[in-house]
Amino acid sequence: MLARSAQGVYWMARYLARAGYLSRLLELQVQFLVDRSVEEIHFGWKRIYRCMKRLPPPGEEFLPETDEFALADAFTLADDLTFERSNPDSVWSTVASGRENARQMRHCISGEMWTCLNAAWLRIRDLEAVDIWRTPEVFYARTRSEIHNFVGVADATMYRGAAWRFMRLGRAIERAQLAVSLLLAQIDLSRRTERRTLGWASMLRTHHALEAYGRVYGIDLQPDRVLDLLVADPSLPGSVLATVQAAATELQGLDGGPGVEADAAARRLAGRAEALILYDWPEASAPEELLEQVGQSTRDLHEAVLDAFVDYAIEDSPLR
C-alpha cells in the first residue's frame, strides 16, 4: 500500500475516533446541565478539558467551584469544544479533518464509507452552537451515532487489506490514548474532591460500560472496580487493554515494514503496552503512574508505526 495512503487512512481513523469520543463526553456533559449540581458540572468540564489537553476559553483552569455563572458559561465551553474552528480537537475540526483525509484517500476506502462520512460532514459543516443549543444532547448523540455507523459500514464493506489494518490501528491507538487521558484526569480530579465517587459513574457511561459493570460487580459503585474494568477488562471494547490489544493485533496482521529494526520496535511497543496492563496492573500501587507509562507507550507506538511504515529511510528499503 502507498505509504502516504496508509498515513491518510490512519489519521482519518484517529480523527474520527476523537470526534466520536468527544461527542460522547459532551453528550453526557450537556445532560448534566439539566439536573446535576454545579460541583458535578464543573467537575465534568474540567475532566473533558484535561482529557483533551486544552485550556478553556479564558485560558486558565477556570472559575472558582462556587461560581454560579458556570451554567451560563456552558454554551461557550460547549462551543469551544464543538464548533471552534481554531481548536483542532473540536468535534467540527476532527470531523472535518477525518473527512478530508477520507476525501484524499477515497480510493482506499469503500464508497459506502465515504458516502456515510460525507453525509455526516454535510450535516454539521454549516452548524454553529446556537443551532444545536435547544437540544444539544441530540446533536452529540447523532454525531456519535454517525461515527458508529461509519465504523459499522467499514466493517461491513471494506476490503481486509493493508488500508483496513491501518485504519483499525489508528482507531485503536486514538481510543487507547483518549481512555488513558480521561482516566488520568478522573483520578486526579477525584482526589481533589470530598465526594469519593464523583465522576465514576459517568466514566462508565462514557465507555458504555454501565451494564457491564453491573454484570461483573453488581450495583455497588466502587472507584477501584470501575478503574479495573476500564483499564484491564479485555471483554470491554473501550477498555485500555482491549484497545492496546486491538492495536497489537492490527500491527501483527500487517506485512513487515521495510526496515527490520523499525518494524520490530513498533511491534515491541504494542506488546509492552499490553504487558504493562496484563502483568503490572494487578500489582500496581500507583495506578496513575502505570497509566502514564501505558499512555507513553501508546504515544511511542504512534511514532514507531510512522517510522516503520511511512517515514522510513529509503536506504532501508529493498527494491521490488
Binding site: R103, R106, A119, L122, G257, I314
Partner: protein, 477 residues
Amino acid sequence: MDFSRYDFDPAIHDEMFVADGEPRDHCRAVYEALKGLPDGDLNTIQERVTRSFSQEGITFTVYGDEEAEERIIPIDCVPRLLALAEWRELEAGLVQRIRTLNLFLADVYGDCRVVRDGVIPADVILGCPQYRLAMRGVGVPNDVWVTICGTDIVRTHEGFMVLEDNLRVPSGVSYMIANRKAVKAGLRRLYRRSRVQDVEQYGSLLRQTLCELSPGGRPDPCLALLTPGTYNSAFYEHMFLAHEIGAELVEGQDLLVNDGFVYMRTTSGLRRVDVIYRRVDDDFLDPLVFRDDSLLGVPGLMNAFKRGNVALANAPGTGVADDKSVYAYVPDMVRYYLGEEPLLQNVETHLCRRPEDLEYTLDNLERLVVKRVGESGGYGMLVGPHSTPEERDEYARTLRADPADFISQPTLALSRSPCLIDGHAEPRHVDLRPFVLTGNETRIVPGAFCRVALRRGSLVVNSSQGGGGKDLWVVDL
C-alpha cells in the same frame, strides 16, 4: 415535463426537435415519455440527482476560488440523445483523427517530414510553447503518444465539428460516468426502454489500454495515477479513476527514480512503477528537464521514460498537437498522413499570426470568438456577439500587441438540447467530449461528457464559467 414554452429556433440545430413540437425519430419515445411525466416528477428527480452529487462529493474546484473550494458541477437531468448511427459516424471520425495526431506527434519529434514537405510552416510548430525539445528523437511504446484524448465536439446544421483536441490531460470522464449513474437511477424505466449504450466499462478499457503500454510487455504492470494533489480542480476525477483502474493515486512526493527506474514508496518498501497515468502538465513533470521550481513532479522521471523503463500516458509533448494554431492544420494532416478526406470537420479558424487573418479578426470582432492560443477552460477569450464595445477595444489592443498568441473563429450556432429550467423545458447550447483511448487499438465508449451552457443564451459550456453537465444517451431506437 412542460414543453409548451420551448423556444424552438430553426436557425439553430436542435438535438431533440426537427421542427417546432416535432421530435427527431430517435427522440420521439423519450420526448413522449418526458412530456407525459406529471409536473414535479422531473423536479424531484433533478433534486435527487443534485443531492446525490453532493452526498457522494462529486466536486470540482474553481481556480482562485478559496471560499468555494469544493463545488458541485450542476447537472441537468434531461438526457441529450444521439442515434447509434450518428454515433458510429462520429466514432469513425474520432478514430481517424487520433490516428492522424499520433502520426503527427511521432513525425514532429522525429523526422519532421510534415514541415519539410511544406504542409505546416516550421514556425507554427517550433514557435508553439508546447513543443518539447526534450522529446526530440524519443520513441514511445507502440508509437502511441496520446493514450487518452478528450475531443470537444460541437454540432451545427452543417454536422459535427471538432472544436478542440484535448491531448494533454483531458478531464471530465468521471462526470460522464457519474451523470450516467445519477440520471439512470432517476429515469429507470425510460432508460431501460431506450436501449442506451453502456459507458460504465470505461474504467476497465482504460486499465486494459494502460497495461498495453507496459515497458517491455511486463505482465501485470504496476499502474499509478499521478495527481498534482487534492487542490487540483479535477482531484475528484483523479481519485475516481485511480479507483476504477486499480492504480495507486500518487503525488510526486510518493515517487522516486533510482538507476533509471521509477519506484513508489509503499508501506513495505519501494515498489517499481511500470505505467504512470499522469494528470500533471508537462511543465511540472520533472524539475530536471522542465520547470525547475516544480514540486509536483519527480526528478529523473524523464530519464526513466526515455530509457523505456516507465510509460507515461499521455507522453510529454503532446500539447503541440492540440495547440490552437496547429489545430487549424489537422484536416491537412489527415490528408497528408492517411491520404484520406477528414471525416470530422474543423471550425473555420483564423490564425492572427497571419497579417490578413489579423486584419479580418480586428474588422469582425463583434462577430467572432477570439481565443488565446495557450489558454483553455474558457479563460482569456472574447465572445464577440456578447461583448461590449469597450471590451472589444480593450481586447483589440491586447491582440495587436501579440497577434501570434490569438486565433479567431466564427461564433457558432452550437446545437441546443432541452433542459429542465424552472420546472419546464428550455433549450440550452451543448457540446460533447467523447474520450478516445489508444493502446494496441483505439477504443471509445459510446458516450461523452456532455457540457451545457446553463445560462440562457450563453455559448460558454465550461464548468468554470457557469456551464453544467448532461448525460448523453446513445440510443439504438
